[in-house]
Subunit: 346 residues, 2 copies
């Protein structure tokens, strides 16, 4: 393929992603049908998962998984494996979001009430027994775990070497979530740790790992170093953009409340940058006199610096692509994807 | 093997179970070492899982998985698979317990504080930010999910047909948990549903499914019908005993508070039996005037009936063994295991 055929690379990806959507919908519909036959209530946890999947996420992880496979020259015979894997990644992500919203006490997700919020409201409206919060969060805990189990069922046929990558990715997600929560609770300022959490929690599993999984399914471990560099750089850019959206973004576009990161005392990279540079911010976030308004006022300079850092990271991601053994169409397409991720509005 | 060799069957099982313990300990130690190198805090979720594994559960599920394999004549070449699978089942169970204790607001497990209780206390003692309950439950959510991921990593090499059984088992656990919680919240009295929940949530995954997994690894699907009958009967007996211990048991022996099932408005089979027979109990549990003391006073007759039902179930389990194509030593050993499960004190 030549440079002029870029649209074909994208078209190939979209065609496989269409199959990913059908795989997800088919699997979830069959599960729902099965459990409703046991008891009508059986629909609740399946619908919690399906509702979030259908609420229109960015499908970033499936997109990078499928791109990794196609860019690596994956063969048609292995296409079903990459479809399963990409669908599985989306379900892993869905389960993590359902749990994450409980951890963060976040009430909105993708523009609709979070699972725990909606189920607590149902509990109250129905006049059921026990504590509504415990019930709602209970449904969220079980639905999140169910999404994870569904993901594992979808990737049943992955070969062992790919499963190892998969297992590492899943472990990292939980550990990243935990360290993120721990750092926020303790109020520690450790730039290195915060950077690691950002890389581990979001960057690595959003881009780098999915790309590597796709390349591994295609039998191209030789692409790992280039994809790692591209993925780590772009992953950090992804997370930095997330931080910016979380503080300065538009709530409607984001589909979740903005400003919540600050209210939650989240030690984002944005905040770490500000704390490293500005003594007053450092004092505000490390003492007991956290003041969201004043912190926000002092973040203007950091915002510019973070934008610069994003530019550098995108450049580094593109450089990694230059050195990789890829055809030109895919090199260009992955470059376009880098821009889309780093400069998105939600 | 002849009947006189029963101890050898047990010895063979214990030898494999010893390897299961080493597999669990080895895996968890390696994980801890890995994450502590990233950050000392990384030990927390791993320790939450390890602590519960090490607190000495009954290892019922590994025991039945290994017994299913050995009774089916599993070969030495496949032993590692059954060790992995049995270790994985124990971790699945561990993860479910960690989540279950949050769902039930249970503060004690296996004689030690539940994960969420201990972590909330740490949060308070350390003077950390945010709500202690959310932090403690957050650690429990993530640790439970981590246990599930570890389980999947352990069973990486299971062949597809065994993985399908595995996936069904895991899905059933979550669904059983959800329906159990939903029925308690709604206060519905549906004997069929409660029986199904008991079978699904506990019986099936404690005995029937582990046995079948072991037999499947040994390549003996022909044993499935007999193991299913044995397992379903014994599984119900297991759950009924659980109900009795939960209401009448000795708190020290049980390692968790007894009486909690009633306080939690849990629709146990014991309660369903009483409600079906006793109009007053039916009124007490379906209205808004739930009175734990009075309900407890009226459960004497039901207790006797449940003991009878357990006897019948054990007899049915033994009959199923008679018809199975097993050698005598294993038939006898599985009979002994039935007694141990049905007449245990914790």
């Amino acid at each position: 393929m030549s440079r002029s055929q870029v649209p074909q690379a994208r078209a190939a990806r979209l065609a496989v992603l269409e199959k990913v959507e059908r795989r997800l919908a088919g699997f979830l519909t069959a599960e729902r049908d099965h459990w409703v036959r046991v008891d009508p209530r059986g629909a609740v946890p399946v619908d919690a998962v399906t509702g979030l999947v259908a609420a229109g996420g960015k499908r970033l992880r499936p997109a990078f998984c499928v791109s990794g496979f196609l860019a690596a020259g994956g063969e048609a015979a292995d296409e079903q494996l990459v479809v399963d894997c990409a669908a599985g990644i989306e379900l892993v992500h869905t389960g993590a979001l359902v749990h994450d919203d409980v951890l963060d006490a976040s009430e909105l997700r993708r523009g609709v009430p979070a699972v725990h919020t909606r189920e607590s409201a149902t509990h109250i409206a129905s006049g059921w027994r026990g504590e509504p919060r415990r019930y709602g969060e209970g449904v969220a805990i079980l639905s999140g775990a169910l999404a994870q189990i569904y993901a594992e069922r979808l990737v049943r046929d992955l070969p062992p070497v790919v499963r190892d990558l998969w297992g590492e990715m899943l472990t990292e997600i939980q550990m990243g979530q935990f360290l993120d929560m721990a750092v926020a609770a303790e109020g520690v300022i450790e730039p290195e740790l915060s950077r690691w959490v950002a890389v581990c929690k979001s960057g690595r599993y959003s881009i780098h790992r999915p790309l590597l999984l796709g390349a591994a399914i295609a039998g191209r471990p030789d692409l790992a170093p280039a994809f790692e560099e591209y993925g780590e750089a772009l992953g950090e850019a992804f997370q930095l953009r997330d931080d910016l959206i979380g503080v300065f973004g538009d709530s409607d576009a984001a589909g979740k409340p903005v400003g919540l990161d600050l209210e939650q005392h989240k030690m984002t990279l944005l905040l770490v940058e500000a704390a490293e540079r500005d003594e007053r911010v450092r004092k505000l976030i490390s003492g007991n006199d956290w003041d969201t308004e004043e912190i926000l006022d002092r973040l203007g300079e950091s915002r510019l610096r973070i934008e610069q850092r994003i530019d550098e990271l995108v450049a580094r991601a593109r450089t990694a692509l230059e050195r990789a053994d890829l055809d030109d169409a895919w090199r260009a397409e992955l470059g376009v994807m880098a821009d889309e991720v780093a400069y998105r509005s939600r």
